[in-house]
């Protein structure tokens, strides 16, 4: 951890991500090389939802947490807790924006990961995406320095 803190304190270069055609083309015109990747939703990344309906008014509640599984006496569970992929993106592809002066072996920080890696888990079985991660540019792509040992229950910021 201390080494990692030291590296980040030394201001790792931040690599941005473009999430749609316009953003990618704009970055290309600005001198970046967009490294295109297909979004591949991981089967590991899962939240859950249920639908409770007030049969008098028709209104629904959509809990994502087992602790909110009852909406009160007027609500009936129409759909029991069902797993689903909770993210949506503007395009099915995205691109890391590679600066012209990057060199093989450079250690960077990917601000908005395209790859689905587990960042947070809950004791209800939910798993959410890792937002960003350190990586090493090998001249062709980024080698993501993902550490699954990091305690992933917490969100901070």
């Amino acid at each position: 951890m201390r080494d990692r803190l030291k590296e980040n304190t030394n201001n790792l270069r931040i690599i941005k991500t473009a999430r749609d055609k316009d953003a990618i083309n704009q970055a290309a015109k600005a001198g970046y090389f967009p490294l295109i990747k297909v979004l591949e939703p991981s089967e590991q990344i899962r939240s859950k939802f249920a639908v409770l309906q007030n049969l008098k008014t028709g209104e629904i509640l959509v809990p994502n947490d087992f602790r909110c599984s009852s909406g009160g006496k007027d609500y009936t569970k129409i759909i029991d807790f069902t797993p689903y992929y909770p993210y949506s993106f503007s395009s099915p592809y995205a691109a890391y924006l590679i600066p012209k002066d990057i060199t093989a072996g450079e250690h960077v920080f990917l601000e908005d990961l395209i790859e689905d890696l587990v960042g947070s888990t809950s004791n209800q079985g939910d798993k959410y995406r890792l937002p960003g991660c350190e990586a090493i540019w090998n001249g062709e792509t980024f080698e993501i320095q993902y550490n699954p040992e990091i305690d992933s229950r917490h969100f901070m910021g």
Partner: protein, 89 residues
Amino acid sequence: MKFNPVTKHLFTDDNQLIKQLNCPFNLNWEDLELTKSQGRKRCQLCNKEIIDTESMTESYLVQKMKQNPDLCLKVDLDQANIRVEINNA
């Protein structure tokens, strides 16, 4: 309180935004530097204090965020005073 782990927005029970958590670093809470105050740690990357929301009331957090909008918070999906709520479900 309600927390959306997809957008990382933390709300009060009556939907008042407390903060959008925006730390990009995948840090271990246990590795952060202890402070003299219980429930607070210091991040050496940003030199900011991080408040553990587990033992805080939402009214306290709203007040603290008004005083210092850059204050960092820590949320555990399993903590007793949090409910996960994803609006687009």
